[in-house]
Amino acid sequence: MGMTMSQKILAAHAGLPQVKAGQLIEAKLDMVLGNDITSPVAINVFNDGKAVSVFDNTKIAMVMDHFTPNKDIKAAEQCKQVRQFADKYDIKNFFDVGQMGIEHSLLPEKGLVGPGTLCIGADSHTCTYGALGAFSTGVGSTDMAAGMISGKTWFKVPSAIRFNLINKPAEYISGKDIILHIIGMIGVDGALYRSMEFFGDGLKYLSIDDRLCIANMAIEAGAKNGIFPVDDITREYIMDRFKGEAVEYTADDDAEYDEEYTIDLSALRPTVAFPHLPENARTVDEIAPTEVKIDQAVIGSCTNGRISDLRAAADVLRGKKVAKGVRCIIIPSTQSVYLQAMHEGLFDIFIEAGAVVSTPTCGPCLGGHMGILAKGERAISTTNRNFVGRMGHVESEVYLASPAVAAASAVTGYITDPAKVCEN
């Protein structure tokens, strides 16, 4: 029986000619990732286990992105602990303030992950790198520690769901609308324990940023990983970036998929996930013009803080003003995205519109800092989760959407179809 893309990468790293769904394997890791929240726990475990060395100091990445620049003394202490560990073990890919960006934007950009890579990360959105044809998945801190020590981990080989994305996306349809539509369709546990594999002629219209956004939110459907085949768009992106050897895996013709869905991208509409689950998807057409009044718009995160996201927001905000009573917070995801946006003049557009631009940080996405909501407040956000209390007070609300929808909503003060703002 044939193998899926995900199964082929796992088999290759386990040194096996063939694996099948449900099989337990031990596989060699190309990259082990942690951040300023999960690394301290992993370091404690590493020390408790009396480990004295890491398996490979070039294959570990530690990114100080969640509560940085340090939001309080405790956050500063956590970063200090990781910094000291990185010094002691000479961790080559330790990224502190000044070099860091949001981890899942930074690792692809720095070429630390690419086609065929097997990566685990102590962050649930590690599944992002499947956009480049990698198998990558989120784990906890103990798995991170064991990975840092041994360079290996165990996996249960996942079965998969096949998504055929067909036709050219309609106007204002981005990766975010596609993945919110899919999660709305299959639910937050619709892909539990399984791979989401994306195919179809629609892929050629999806930029790397769109694909990174889609793979990023595979976890919001419960998936172990999300993965795209490697094509010219991938090859162009990794050229001059990826430091490893790119290995392109394709699914066998007779690979088995548990389920198959076909999605016509030309028929999609801008989509918003209502509180308090990413599966509560509605199109902008199903939301009355003054139905959802917002207090804040956040444009950024590992889901939507890349350059094409900022350009999409700028296209909507150009020459317009953020509505009175709305705070619009824009967070480029890495230093290089920040520079690029600055050179392209996007910051002029944002600041003249009345938005603020922050240094890269995960900040408000998880209710850390840089945009916390008060009781009863509502945010439209390009982030990935809208759980109870996610961005602040337990009685606040988060609506998930694309950068274009978030920017349009910032202008009107209500959740709004970007086409309505741009036609005026």
């Binding site: 929240i37 726990v41 309080d72 906890g140 801190s141 798995d143 520690a145 064991a146 539990l192």
Partner: protein, 160 residues
């Protein structure tokens, strides 16, 4: 290995943000994390929970973030076992790795109510609701996973 205690019951999709809100992730102290366990969906949980109590929920328990702080907070608050219809995969792995016993059992997760007295036998996978007298069969863990849990987690297991 066995557990017995009073049940704290929750519904579908209990996410790691409500198990331990991110605003408390500026510490990795087990004791501090336990003080805020479940507070965004059950403000009285930390007041009511007793050593050995059992948590029961429905589908997709522990969805969301990979934070190991979530099973750590549950375990450090005194919970001896979590029973759910299904678990989100990262939480499932993390719970085993830190030595928090978990069992998947749809019937038990639907029928057992808050306040019931429940006992669990990890060797057989039998869950008994002492209050109602009903028993349920969950798939027991294979011996190597049981050993990880009884040793107190993966690292203690591999370094013992």
């Amino acid at each position: 290995m066995k557990a017995q205690g009073t049940v704290h019951k929750y519904g579908d999709n209990v996410d790691t943000d409500v198990i331990i809100p991110a605003r408390y992730l500026n510490t990795s102290s087990h004791k501090e994390l336990a003080q805020h366990c479940m507070e965004d969906i059950d403000i009285d949980f930390t007041k009511n929970v007793r050593e050995g109590d059992i948590m029961v929920a429905e589908k997709n328990f522990g969805c969301g973030s990979s934070r190991e702080h979530a099973p750590i907070a549950i375990k450090a608050s005194g919970i001896s076992c979590v029973i759910a219809s299904t678990f989100a995969r990262i939480f499932y792995r993390n719970a085993i790795n830190i030595g928090l016993p978990i069992l998947e059992c749809e019937a038990a997760s639907k029928e057992i109510k808050s306040g019931d007295e429940v006992s669990v036998d990890f060797d057989t996978g039998i869950i008994t609701d002492i209050t109602t007298g009903k028993t349920y069969q969950a798939e027991p863990f294979p011996p190597f996973i049981q050993e990880i849990i009884s040793d107190g987690g993966l690292i203690k297991h591999v370094t013992k």
